[in-house]
């Protein structure tokens, strides 16, 4: 799976979890760019992404992402 496909899948997870059809993620998107994305539902997103890709993040990884691109890189490293 290439990074573009991963981004598309992650985008679908965000739409589903945050219940907002208008979300359009890019590699540069940060939590400040998405209104509903706060530290509370960050974990909800993480759990949904883990289920979607069948992977497991470490606690350090979850707390260290600053933008979507970093999240995509972590997923890519784990599944490829």
């Amino acid at each position: 799976m290439d990074k573009g496909e991963i981004l598309k899948t992650v985008n679908d997870v965000f739409i589903d979890v945050l219940d907002d059809e208008n979300i359009m993620l890019t590699y540069e998107t940060t939590a400040n760019d998405v209104e509903e994305w706060d530290s509370l539902n960050h974990i909800q997103l993480v759990v949904a992404i883990e289920k979607q890709f069948g992977i497991r993040f470490t606690s350090w990884e979850i707390q260290s992402w600053n933008k979507v691109g970093e999240l995509i890189n972590t997923i890519s490293n784990k599944i490829n």
């Binding site: 509903e36 974990i43 993480v46 606690s59 707390q63 260290s64 600053n66």
Partner: protein
């Protein structure tokens, strides 16, 4: 040196003149004055606490650089743990040492074992929680790669003891505060006047509402055994308003003062009494602390418990809120206050609506379901504030027992009827203004009123209310003791 004292007014005027007219050439000079001013302000309360603040700042300054430079994860973790142990250890020692000793003595006493031990005469250093939270978030953010450490010790020392938020917050994060300290502040007329308006609003909330409510609530909580249930309900209502007016009033003054010296500080309250459920309430109450705990306590706990589904979420939230409760002090009343607020979340988690943010309506009048939600949330919170105010669990339970009695349907006993009426009118003014201005940073952002005489009438009207109705007793801010 209370914000509302003449001494502080003189001190701040002097500081203002030096800051903008003498030390304004570059940010290094500004920071030196900021640090000196902050330390004078802090030492004015009790100079004996200053060495601890300086020692804590020094240690964490070097730890921050050490964590960043360390090549091995083990080294980074070790340095982080030294910082956490120093911060939390000092906090635990000053806040809870005597409580643990006394609890141990009484636990052994129940088995008829007498322990010969002693308690120390410990005074809590002012603002210790607030500056400890700042140092902890600084180290954690460096460890998680979110920020780089500053190599300018004056900047870091200013960040830890940022004047005027050193005593009681708001707790700003390094990511938002440190960049402001590394560039020269330029006087901004609009920002400064907005700060002055926010101070005026904060003084109104503190000196008129909180201090007047305190007169009644002190009396009601002292004589609750002789009063009807309706008076006790009135007391609980007024105390809830008092805590809000006191702490949000303090925050408004601290934020306003910061604006005058060109520093933007995190918002601490966002009209919490208009929240429609408990999650919404805590997103709007003491935002800088709940946000801090969400990031550094709740988030790691939810990650840890994430395989347990809703049970994990309940566990994380109850632990988090119990921690908030215990943070207020070594008393079982605070423990239960936090625990109960955590339990209030359970229906939201089970219904799956925890993450759904309730938006406050744009309309002038809220719809009936929203109004019911607001009233219900206020009632739930009000009941926990009885615990917050009570001296002991026994007193709180006694208060609850007397509250739920038939005398609820009698008229409350009201002392000083004129003052009560005036206080209630001022509470209505505060709530109405905050409702109408709910999308603004504070209630006095009234630039949309184009006619300046109207704005002037509002400012001077408020000053007149403050002069006329200020309580005779100018009491400490409630949150200074935490």
């Amino acid at each position: 040196m209370l914000f509302t004292s003449i001494t502080f007014v003189i001190f701040f005027c002097l500081f203002f003149l030096l800051y903008w007219f003498v030390f304004n050439r570059n940010f290094k000079l500004q920071n030196l004055l900021l640090l000196a001013g902050g330390y004078v302000f802090y030492a004015w309360w009790d100079w004996r606490f200053l060495p601890l603040l300086i020692a804590s700042s020094s240690l964490n300054y070097f730890l921050g650089i050490g964590i960043y430079k360390a090549r091995q994860t083990k080294q980074r973790s070790l340095l982080l743990w030294i910082g956490l142990l120093q911060g939390l250890g000092t906090l635990l020692f000053f806040k809870y040492f005597n409580f643990f000793v006394k609890s141990t003595i009484s636990a052994f006493a129940t088995f008829n074992i007498r322990l010969d031990t002693y308690t120390l005469n410990i005074i809590l250093p002012l603002g210790i929680s607030f500056y400890t939270f700042r140092t902890i978030s600084y180290l954690l953010d460096i460890k998680h790669g979110k920020i780089k450490p500053t190599t300018d010790w004056v900047v870091f020392f200013c960040y830890v003891s940022v004047f005027p938020c050193v005593i009681s917050g708001p707790i700003d994060r390094p990511k938002t505060l440190i960049p402001q300290l590394t560039r020269r502040r330029v006087f901004d007329y609009a920002q400064a006047t907005d700060g002055m308006r926010q101070i005026l609003w904060g003084v109104f909330k503190k000196m008129v509402i909180a201090d007047n409510c305190a007169v009644f609530t002190d009396n009601i909580f002292e004589h609750y055994k002789t009063l009807p249930a309706s008076s006790l309900l009135f007391g609980a209502f007024l105390y809830t308003i008092q805590v809000y007016a006191d702490f949000s009033g303090y925050s408004d003054i601290a934020i306003g003062l910061s604006n005058i010296i060109g520093i933007k500080v995190t918002r601490n309250f966002n009209t919490p009494f208009f929240a429609q459920n408990i999650a919404d309430f805590w997103r709007r109450w003491h935002i800088s602390l709940t946000g801090w705990l969400t990031d550094y306590v709740f988030a790691p706990l939810t990650i840890y418990f994430r395989d347990l589904g809703k049970t994990g979420l309940i566990l994380a939230i109850v632990i988090n809120f119990t921690a908030i409760g215990i943070w207020h002090g070594p008393n079982w009343t605070f423990f239960l206050f936090g625990f109960l607020n955590g339990c209030y979340y359970i229906p939201l988690i089970l219904r799956g609506t925890l993450y759904k943010k309730k938006k406050i309506t744009d309309q002038l009048q809220p719809a009936l379901p929203a109004l019911l939600g607001v009233a219900g949330t206020f009632t739930l919170v009000m009941f926990t504030f009885i615990l917050f105010r009570a001296d002991s669990l026994a007193q709180a339970f006694d208060y609850y027992q007397r509250l739920f009695s038939r005398s609820m349907f009698t008229a409350p006993v009201i002392i000083e009827k004129v003052n009560t009426a005036a206080t209630l009118v001022c509470i209505v003014i505060m709530l109405a203004a905050e409702w109408l201005q709910r999308d603004k940073q504070h209630a006095l952002q009234i630039d949309f009123i184009k006619k300046s005489p109207v704005r002037v009438i509002i400012y001077y009207g408020l000053i007149l209310i403050i002069i006329t109705f200020t309580a005779t007793r100018n009491s400490d801010f409630i949150y200074f003791k935490f």
